[in-house]
């Protein structure tokens, strides 16, 4: 058995067959997955509660499942032979969702934490190299409480990567960051990964991140892998989104698929579905659905532009004429309710309201980008 060997099999893929029952709460939840992750990014995508974090915990050894987990030839866990390599010997890098930086240690001490077995000189060199690579070497002496969220994410990544793990687990590492910081960190990760070819399991519930990373995706739902492949294939499958995820959308409409444009990667949806009378057509992203399929469309009020004259020459595909029903101020933002066949909430700033001199009954146009329309299966 090679379970205790210290050799780090770089270029080895992670293979796992995991079953884990979680008891308690109102319903019992069972994680039941089997997958193989070769070096490079593998994205675990799915709504909250689908078992993504539990899966990572099992691979890291923080939770004991049934089944078998191995990296290349090396067996980390096997419930049949009662093999269970202790967490500290698995050489798995795991960045937890809330990072778990040691609050009493400086950035440099945090990054050096996993290098205790090395002589001081080498420890300093290696941590400094990683800190430079992630552009946080100027923060060496700071404590985690003194640096920004993006910087903390980088420290947590650097701390895991400096030990040269044979598998890297990232649990929504970028969820709290703005798009620019996110893109920079993803670049840093890619650069690191091209030098160290190890399997990276990257957990996210953001479609944007899946598309940005653009590699293999495993879609997890209710503890099972319901789809796998490249983002384009997988994301076109309609997803059962939870109520929680709908919560962010001010505009949610019943709709049906009107036309499918496979070649363009879009489709047209009819709001509201079927019923007689006036209706609105919206161009939306393509999902795997047939004409007539019933859906829900969610659009954030902040994703809609409002114009007081008919806009032309736009890249946005949806320009809907309508009339203002009401303009209402909530704190420092303004919500306009517009009737354009269906009632839509549009969000704008106080300054925008004042400059446009909006009043009830006024004719306006709403501009909605295709990818601002989020589709959910009913």
């Amino acid at each position: 058995m090679r379970s205790n060997s210290n050799s780090k099999n770089t270029n080895a893929s992670l293979n796992a067959r995991i079953q884990k029952k979680l008891l308690g709460g109102e319903c019992d939840f069972t994680l039941d997955v089997e997958f193989n992750a070769s070096p490079g990014f593998t994205i675990l995508f799915g709504p909250s509660g689908s078992g993504k974090t539990t899966l990572l915990d099992c691979v890291a050894g923080l939770t004991v499942p049934q089944g078998r987990i191995g990296v290349g030839e090396r067996i980390l866990f096997d419930s049949r032979t009662k093999t269970d390599v202790p967490v500290r010997l698995r050489s798995i890098g795991y960045v937890l969702q809330d990072l778990a930086l040691f609050p009493h240690l400086t950035v440099e001490q945090n990054v050096e934490y996993g290098l205790a077995h090395l002589p001081r000189r080498e420890r300093k060199d290696r941590s400094l190299a990683r800190l430079r690579e992630f552009r946080i070497d100027h923060l060496r002496e700071q404590r985690p409480s003194q640096i920004s969220g993006g910087e903390r994410q980088r420290v947590a990544l650097a701390r895991s990567l400096v030990t040269n793990p044979c598998v890297l687990l990232l649990d929504e590492p970028l969820s709290a960051l703005d798009a620019v910081t996110k893109a920079k960190i993803i670049d840093d990760l890619r650069r690191w990964n091209s030098d160290h070819q190890v399997p990276i399991l990257y957990v996210t519930h953001s479609r944007e991140e899946v598309i940005a990373l653009g590699e293999r995706v495993l879609v997890l739902e209710n503890g099972r892998i319901i789809a796998h492949g490249v983002p384009h294939e997988v994301l076109t499958a309609p997803l059962q989104e939870s109520i929680a995820e709908l919560a962010g959308f001010e505009n949610i409409f019943e709709a049906s698929v009107w036309l499918v444009h496979e070649d363009r990667g879009t489709m047209t949806c009819r709001l509201p579905p079927k019923e007689a009378g006036s209706f609105v057509l919206l161009e939306t992203p393509l999902i795997r659905a047939e004409t007539g399929t019933l859906l829900r469309v969610g659009i954030r009020a902040g994703d809609i532009l409002l114009a007081i004259s008919k806009p032309e020459g736009l890249s946005a595909r949806n320009v809907l004429p309508g009339r203002i029903i009401s303009v209402e101020r909530r704190d420092v933002v303004v919500f306009a309710t517009v009737d354009c066949g269906v009632e839509m909430q549009v969000q704008m700033t106080l300054a925008a309201r004042d400059e446009l001199k909006l009043k009830e009954g006024q004719q306006v146009w709403l501009v909605i980008k295709t990818y601002s329309c989020h589709l959910m299966r009913k």
């Binding site: 930086l101 040691f102 404590r143 985690p144």
Partner: protein, 231 residues
């Protein structure tokens, strides 16, 4: 009015020795109570807490019996050293350790339990052994609890009476502590001397506790600042 400095320094010596030993014994015991998943853990917790509710005379009585020449422990000690443990300074130390055990172990265990388990998991993921995790993560983040436990043990031992009386008796320079001396002075109607000793113990205990809690508050504030922003 006389101040019995011999009794005072004996008491300080006893308190220092007992607190030091309880620091060494209490840390692993506190760690075990905080992190063990044994089913019978509650039994150990109950035994550790016992001295809080037990009258010191009861505890002292059993310690006296256990240390006396009729018990196996007492006989073994006697065969080794030629005298019994009862009515000696060593006997006093043993009795005081048992008596002050919960005052050390409970704050230790509580502060260890309060350390975020994710930090412990992360330490293990970074290859650290449980021992290294304890010294690099658990202990630094529990400083305030450890200091509190140490201070409570010290102050508690400084002021104990019942156990000392039962186990140590009243031998000047060996087992006569401040509280026993005060009792003696009152018995002999030397109220001025009793008052002087009582005042000395009061001021000294208050001073120790004030310094410790004052230092601790600063530490605690620092930790809260860090903890709240790290999320």
């Amino acid at each position: 009015m006389t101040i019995n400095w011999q009794a005072f320094w004996l008491t300080v010596e006893l308190a220092v020795v007992v607190s030091a030993i309880l620091l060494v014994v209490g840390l692993p015991l506190g760690y075990w109570i905080a992190f063990s998943r044994r089913r019978w853990k509650f039994l150990v917790e109950a035994v550790v807490a016992l001295p809080i509710v037990l009258p010191p005379t009861v505890l002292g009585f059993y310690v006296l019996v256990a240390l006396g020449s009729r018990s196996p422990v007492g006989r073994w000690w006697q065969s080794l050293t030629g005298h019994t443990l009862a009515f000696t300074f060593t006997g006093l130390v043993i009795g005081s350790i048992l008596y002050s055990l919960p005052f050390a172990v409970q704050p230790f265990a509580a502060s260890f339990s309060a350390v975020d388990r994710k930090l412990l998991a992360t330490s293990a993921l970074l290859g650290a052994s449980p021992l290294r995790t304890f010294f690099r993560v658990v202990l630094p983040l529990s400083v305030s609890g450890v200091v509190t436990g140490f201070a409570l043990t010290f102050a508690h031992t400084m002021g104990e009476f019942g156990v000392v009386l039962m186990v140590g008796g009243n031998i000047p320079g060996i087992t006569r502590t401040v509280s026993i001396d005060i009792y003696d002075q009152v018995e002999a109607a030397n109220y001025a001397s009793a008052n002087a000793m009582a005042l000395l113990l009061l001021i000294f205990s208050l001073a120790v506790l004030t310094v410790v809690y004052g230092l601790n508050r600063r530490k605690l504030n620092q930790r809260f600042m860090t903890a709240s922003t790290v999320k």
